[in-house]
């Protein structure tokens, strides 16, 4: 009996090991969405993202295949991402195992380019036979994320940050929202309406007027006519009284309980009708019980601006067939794949006809879709979408002013605006001094690094 019991345990353990082994093999393999036909070129694609995102990426791949890649005998193989954070994706670049097309944190493109980890795309884009038509895309596609003016990535869509508002609360307060960036509220009107929408009881706020994340300071600064860095990038911007007043005006709303402090999550508040306006939500996350629409961020106080977000698709130097990877990437940014993005309302496609076509405009909500697309289409001297500096100083700027303890201090109402600016500027200026940085330094480093395949090829002159 005992022997039998031992045998049973062994069998049981053996079975367990076999099961674990097959599960492991299944996890390692099974990544493709169909095998590559003989004679075709295989290009792997990888991105982090939740199940909904991954389903959309697969749909984009299918659309791109049908539109052009099948004819070119290129097969995109979807590869699952290891985990759901950019650090792990970055580690793949360090280890030389990134997928042929990898969706990456846009802030890391600059350092990846400088470290010769990704391909310069300009020569391919400018190629007469296989190049891309510049006019098919909004300017932001070519200008948002360049490395010293050179293309090292593509961003098929932009997460347009606008104000989402609760229509019922607006109606109850008798407030009409602007429907275009050209009609954006002035700052005083905005504050008046925020106060009107805020409800307080027993010393606490029961309905907040507006909710904003800390990166709202970026459009606030530009809206006040200031910039993040000075023109030659030798000093931190945010030096004018107008910018300080603009940020303090927003911080005042936090201190007064009109804006929830940073520890309070916006989404549950918005979905429970306790937040009248929220900046930069995701459509998929909004409750079906809430009637909502979108409107522009107000002038702060000179211009109405926003900071859009886009993740970058890059081709690692380790790609087996870089030219095929480029063609696949081009297809993923093409009309068919962009229509998939539009259909899912995942972001605003950079492909003009997709952003202005039925796939994007036929959704029941929001009614004012142009508030999204205008963030890409309104350019000029003071474009709606601001461009933050990239590169090492841009990174330090962001980590100082929109992340970390200073940002937390400002948005929790615990830090004076003057201290926030003074301490932040000191840190950024110290980094500029340490790096001996100026606006020409980045280009010098890029040219010296050997990262440019062809420095005369430049899509944006």
């Amino acid at each position: 009996m005992s022997a039998n019991a031992t045998t049973t345990r062994r069998r049981f353990l053996g079975g367990g090991v076999a099961l674990a082994g097959s599960a492991g093999l299944a996890a390692c393999g099974g990544s493709s969405s169909g095998s590559t036909p003989k004679g075709w070129t295989s290009v792997s694609f990888m991105s982090i993202g939740d199940a909904q995102d991954q389903a959309m990426f697969k749909e984009m791949i299918a659309a791109a295949q049908k539109e052009s890649l099948d004819k070119q005998q290129i097969k995109i193989q979807w590869r699952p991402a290891p985990g759901d954070d950019w650090e792990r994706t970055t580690a793949l670049f360090a280890s030389g195992t990134a997928a042929d097309i990898t969706r990456m944190d846009d802030d890391r493109v600059y350092s990846l380019a400088l470290d010769k980890k990704i391909w310069q795309l300009d020569p391919w884009i400018l190629d007469k036979k296989d190049g891309m038509n510049k006019d098919d895309y909004y300017d932001t596609f070519w200008t948002d994320n360049t490395v010293e003016g050179y293309q090292f990535c593509m961003e098929p869509a932009m997460g347009a940050n606008v104000l989402y508002y609760n229509k019922d609360l607006f109606e109850k307060a008798g407030i009409t929202a602007p429907t275009s960036w050209t009609e954006a509220w002035g700052w005083d009107d905005f504050v008046t309406n925020v106060k009107k929408l805020t409800k307080k009881s027993g010393g606490k706020t029961s309905v907040y007027g507006v909710g904003v994340p800390v990166n709202i300071v970026e459009p606030m600064i530009y809206g006040a006519g200031d910039t993040a860095l000075n023109a030659d990038q030798t000093e931190c911007g945010l030096a004018t009284p107008a910018a300080a007043e603009s940020i303090d005006a927003m911080a005042e709303l936090v201190r007064n309980g009109n804006i929830p402090t940073i520890d309070i999550e916006q989404l549950p508040l918005f979905n429970s009708g306790k937040l009248a306006m929220a900046w930069g939500l995701s459509v998929q996350e909004i409750s079906k019980n809430i009637k909502w629409d979108i409107m522009p961020w107000p002038k702060s106080p000179l211009y109405a601006c926003t900071k859009n977000y886009a993740r970058a698709f890059v081709i690692p130097k380790t790609a087996k067939e870089p030219k095929a990877a480029y063609l696949a990437l081009k297809a993923l940014c093409g009309k068919a794949a962009s229509d998939v993005i539009a259909k899912h309302q995942w972001a605003v496609p950079n492909f003009r006809t997709a952003a202005e076509g039925p796939a994007f405009t036929d959704h029941p909500a929001p009614a004012t879709k142009k508030v999204w697309s205008e963030t890409l289409s309104i350019g000029g001297e003071h474009p709606v979408m601001i461009r933050m500096p990239r590169g090492p100083i841009g990174l330090v700027w962001a980590s100082t002013f929109v992340e970390g303890t200073l940002a937390n201090g400002l948005m929790s109402g615990k830090m004076k605006t003057a201290d926030y600016i003074k301490r932040g500027r000191k840190l950024v200026n110290a980094e500029i001094a340490k790096e001996k940085w100026n606006s020409k330094e980045g280009l010098k480093k890029l040219q010296a690094s050997g990262a440019l395949a062809d420095d005369s090829a430049k899509v944006v002159s």
Partner: protein, 309 residues
């Protein structure tokens, strides 16, 4: 005959030697995987960590040797948040270790009795130990929520206007401490319960005969026997509290402002947000040195108050 006897003795010795060696081999076989695992995954990585701390590695490009530059930056105040994170960690440790052990002791005393269903209580108290800290942090974040939180709702029932727990500098640290202690109390309870069950029954009986009351029995009989368990918890809790991260990450993100910004949070921020792997490694090495020093001091002091039976 004598030769045969001699031969038998030699065979017997040899068998004894084999019998003597086998338990040791068996012991090594049992602990071998743990030892190898510890060496491979805990001890060995310390070498590249120390090397990385002497470089300016950003996680992508090749690391460049900068000697003690990262350490110099730490000690010269080059990182303005370093000192704040260290102070916050010390505050957390000073509260977390004694309160956590005290709560564990109280629970151990409560469940150290032979009553029906006691094992259910023991299991219930232990559940947080086997629960993900991230899940615990998220649940407690909701409990402490000033608008929807159960805690403020309960306080409201008795007429108390609950604070904005995670929005106040002091209350946020208190909230994280409560959560941390709740998460570890079951573990402390189990260790101390094992200690309590090692208290010889004859010692308890004789102290009763001598007329010792409950407090006297606890103070003079149980507590001395518990000191090895308390010492173990002191070491483990101190190390654990210096490494607090997940709860802070989920509940406060180091805020409001920098009021719950602890050492490991700063280490994570420098390493993975700013991608200063070298600087983060230097912080990790310093933490190792500090913890080793604290443990050594505690070890030395333990000779004065820990009693082994």
């Amino acid at each position: 005959m004598a030769a045969a006897q001699h031969a038998t003795t030699r065979v017997g010795r040899s068998r004894n030697r084999k019998r003597g060696a086998w338990p040791a081999v068996r012991g090594w076989l049992f602990i071998g995987p743990v030892v190898i695992g510890t060496l491979l995954f805990n001890v060995l990585p310390m070498i590249p960590t120390f090397y990385t701390s002497l470089t300016n590695w950003d996680g992508i490009s090749s690391p460049q040797w900068i000697g003690f530059g990262n350490y110099d930056q730490i000690f010269s105040g080059g990182d303005p948040e370093f000192m704040r994170s260290l102070i916050n960690t010390i505050i957390y440790t000073v509260a977390y270790v004694p309160i956590g052990i005290a709560v564990g002791l109280v629970l151990a005393l409560l469940v150290n009795r032979q009553a029906r269903g006691m094992s259910i209580f023991r299991a219930l108290f232990f559940i947080p130990v086997v629960t993900s800290l991230v899940a615990i942090g998220m649940v407690w974040r909701w409990i402490f929520d000033s608008q929807y939180g159960v805690l403020n709702w309960l306080l409201g029932l008795v007429g108390i206007n609950g604070p904005h727990w995670l929005g106040g500098s002091v209350s946020a640290m208190v909230a994280v401490l409560i959560t941390g202690i709740w998460a570890i109390m079951g573990y402390n309870m189990v260790i101390l319960l094992a200690g309590l069950q090692n208290v010889p029954a004859e010692l308890i009986d004789s102290s009763k005969v001598d007329g010792a009351g409950a407090w006297s029995r606890f103070r003079h009989v149980m507590l001395p026997v518990l000191t090895p368990s308390l010492f173990f918890l002191l070491i483990i809790s101190t190390i654990g509290s210096f490494q607090v991260f997940a709860l802070i990450f989920v509940m406060t993100s180091g805020g409001p402002g920098d009021s719950t910004y602890v050492y490991i949070y700063e280490l994570w921020y420098q390493t993975f947000q700013l991608r200063k792997m070298g600087f983060g490694s230097a912080m990790a090495v310093l933490l190792f040195v500090v913890l080793a020093a604290i443990t050594w001091v505690q070890w030395r002091l333990s000779k004065r108050w820990v009693f082994y039976q």
